[in-house]
């Protein structure tokens, strides 16, 4: 049974014909499942998930459909959205530096949604906040509760934000690059924590990342985005092992690895993501794709169902299995 189903989500500036930021994003997420959205910086991942909660950037228009447990989220009024957001859907925002109010204590920020959504008193919400800090493995929780954000390290802030997002026991947790700003050790701890939380809180997880290592460890499914469009979606394990899309292949090859010759040159995808040159009638990856053929510049590849998901590419998987000779 699908918990969240997004259908042809589009986000674009209200007052210009500029290329859309998100263009036809579709996916479904089953209850208890986890989906990673992967894509390079600026591909529209953050705006896509924000729009599900009615929090898209100023001056952006959202169309399409997103149903959470049957409730339509796109275009819903704030009063409708408040039924699900913060209570049934929790979110951890991308920027740990700006996600906590510098003038409120950790306890007040974790307890805020409990006080508003659940009508708890300050004392009650503090008790729950204490338990939540324990749940996200913050040592010395009672003292932390009374501290201000600037007294916390980056990893600690992420944990506090997780605690705040989990306060109302959501069914779905959206985490926007929760590990990006952290060093490797702390990243590792946070991934372990997320996995434990997913189990303990029976969470469905929508994870945004550009770290393919995180994907394999946390999410059963992966969706690869480029320039606001879906490139490929499928089973994480299969997708990482045998990608069927040139962009996914390039991403995997561009990944820094420890098990290869350290002197070998790093692979980088040629060119850069420039929205201005993306045509609505072509494959958006064509200017940078090493497998591009004529058709790619003339026709936008339609979705093609494959065994475990969907891909958007004109070339057959077997044609692109090897680098062009």
């Amino acid at each position: 049974m699908s918990l969240l189903s997004v259908d042809r989500l589009c986000i674009g500036p209200v007052d210009s014909a500029a290329a859309p930021i998100v263009d036809g994003l579709s996916f479904t997420l089953s209850r208890g499942d986890s989906l990673a959205i992967v894509g390079e910086s600026g591909s529209g991942k953050t705006q896509a998930v924000l729009s599900l909660l009615g929090l898209q950037g100023a001056g952006l228009r959202v169309s399409g459909s997103a149903r959470f447990d049957g409730i339509e989220l796109i275009g819903a009024r704030d009063s409708m959205l408040d039924v699900v957001r913060g209570t049934r859907i929790g979110m951890v925002f991308q920027d740990p530096a700006s996600s906590l109010n510098p003038y409120l204590t950790v306890g007040m920020q974790i307890g805020e949604s409990l006080e508003v959504h659940r009508g708890l008193s300050r004392a009650e919400s503090h008790r729950v906040a204490l338990r939540l800090l324990d749940a996200v493995r913050v040592a010395d929780a009672a003292r932390r509760l009374l501290q201000y954000p600037h007294e916390l390290s980056g990893g600690m802030r992420q944990r506090v934000m997780l605690a705040a997002a989990l306060a109302c026991r959501p069914e779905l947790l959206i985490a926007d690059e929760p590990t990006t700003a952290l060093d490797a050790t702390v990243q590792r701890q946070l991934i372990t924590l997320l996995r434990e939380l997913q189990r303990d809180f029976a969470l469905s997880l929508l994870l945004i990342t550009h770290d393919l290592g995180v994907v394999g460890e946390l999410c059963t499914r992966t969706l690869v985005m480029y320039a606001g469009r879906v490139m490929e979606e499928g089973d994480s394990e299969r997708l990482l092992r045998a990608p069927t899309h040139p962009y996914t292949q390039a991403l995997l090859r561009a990944r820094p690895r420890l098990d290869t010759d350290p002197d070998a040159p790093m692979f980088a995808i040629a060119g850069s993501l420039t929205r201005a040159e993306i045509s609505p009638l072509a494959c958006c990856f064509a200017p940078r794709c090493e497998h591009a053929v004529d058709l790619c510049y003339r026709l936008r590849p339609p979705p093609e169902s494959v065994a475990d998901g969907v891909r958007h590419c004109h070339r057959r998987p077997e044609d692109i299995a090897t680098a062009p000779g």
């Binding site: 929090l55 100023a58 913060g86 925002f93 920027d95 906590l100 003038y103 409120l104 508003v116 600037h150």
Partner: protein, 277 residues
């Protein structure tokens, strides 16, 4: 609030300011004379002397200038503080609401501010004073009502930037209403900016009051203020220079200290890269 390190200059300015305020408040109790009491035993226009406890001398009516200078200071500082508070409250409320809610309301509020800006302010205050009489309360309102405009603009700009921060989005997820978010999340983050702005506004307002009183449009006799005293003193400058000297010195030193303080606060705010860094 977290602890800040204060520079020695700032501490000195604060201490000096505290001295002035303390002197203005408690000073008159140490003198045997009341604010508008005429000392018939002493001489009129007496020079500063220790004999009759006329430490700053007397004016042409035989009133003790020490007491009058401090009593005038009470009024000047009170007008400054209350007017600054008025402009602060109105300015923050208007600016934060306009900046956070945005859209039509923002447009409307900011057009009102623009229109009020365009009015010749001194003229405005003077007309109010003439129409409604020289009432102290009116002075608070008139000065405060004009000074909130800058405050509203600055606060609105800061709010626009704050609105993009993720903790505001998080607060919306928590189900807080717009007004709750403004109260709980926006206003506290304006604190640094507002403190600086208040420190800059305070001397401006004191100066405006002094100017109005100097023109004879300020406080009503027998009450007095530094501006009114300077006006009196200027008329008798040739005979009793001290009647000009003392109130003028108090006013200048106070303004200087307030400006120094505002400058220090501003420097600290900008070096921290914003109020919420």
């Amino acid at each position: 609030m977290r602890p800040h390190t204060t520079s020695p200059g700032m501490r000195a300015a604060l201490a000096a300011l505290a001295c002035v305020v303390a002197l203005v408040i408690v000073g008159p109790w140490f003198s045997p004379y009341a604010c508008d009491e005429i000392d018939f035993s002493g001489t009129w226009s007496a020079a500063p002397t220790l004999v009759h406890a006329h430490w700053f001398g007397t004016d042409s009516l035989g009133r003790d200038l020490f007491v009058r200078t401090l009593c005038g200071g009470r009024i000047s500082l009170l007008v400054g503080a209350v007017s600054t508070l008025v402009s602060l409250l109105v300015g923050v409320a208007c600016g934060a609401v306009a900046g956070y809610i945005g859209g039509r309301l923002d447009g409307l509020l900011m057009r009102i501010v623009d229109v009020l800006y365009a009015l010749p302010f001194m003229f405005f205050v003077i007309v109010l004073m003439v129409l409604f009489g020289r009432h102290l309360l009116l002075m608070f309102v008139a000065i405060g009502a004009v000074n909130w405009l800058d405050m509203a603009r600055v606060v609105r700009g800061q709010t626009l930037a704050l609105r993009e921060r993720d903790f505001i989005a998080a607060a919306r997820l928590s189900g807080l209403s717009d007004l709750q978010i403004i109260r709980r999340h926006v206003v506290p983050n304006l604190f640094g900016l507002v403190a600086v702005y208040a420190a800059v506004t305070l001397p401006q307002v004191i100066l405006i009051e002094s100017f109005l009183s100097f023109l004879g449009l300020g406080v009503q006799a027998p009450a007095t203020s530094w501006g009114a005293l300077i006006n009196d003193g200027a008329r008798e400058m040739d005979v009793t220079p001290w009647s000009l000297l003392f109130p003028a010195a108090f006013l200048s030193v106070t303004l200087l200290l307030l400006n120094l303080l505002g400058e220090q606060l501003r420097a600290r705010l900008s070096s921290r890269g914003g109020p919420a860094a």
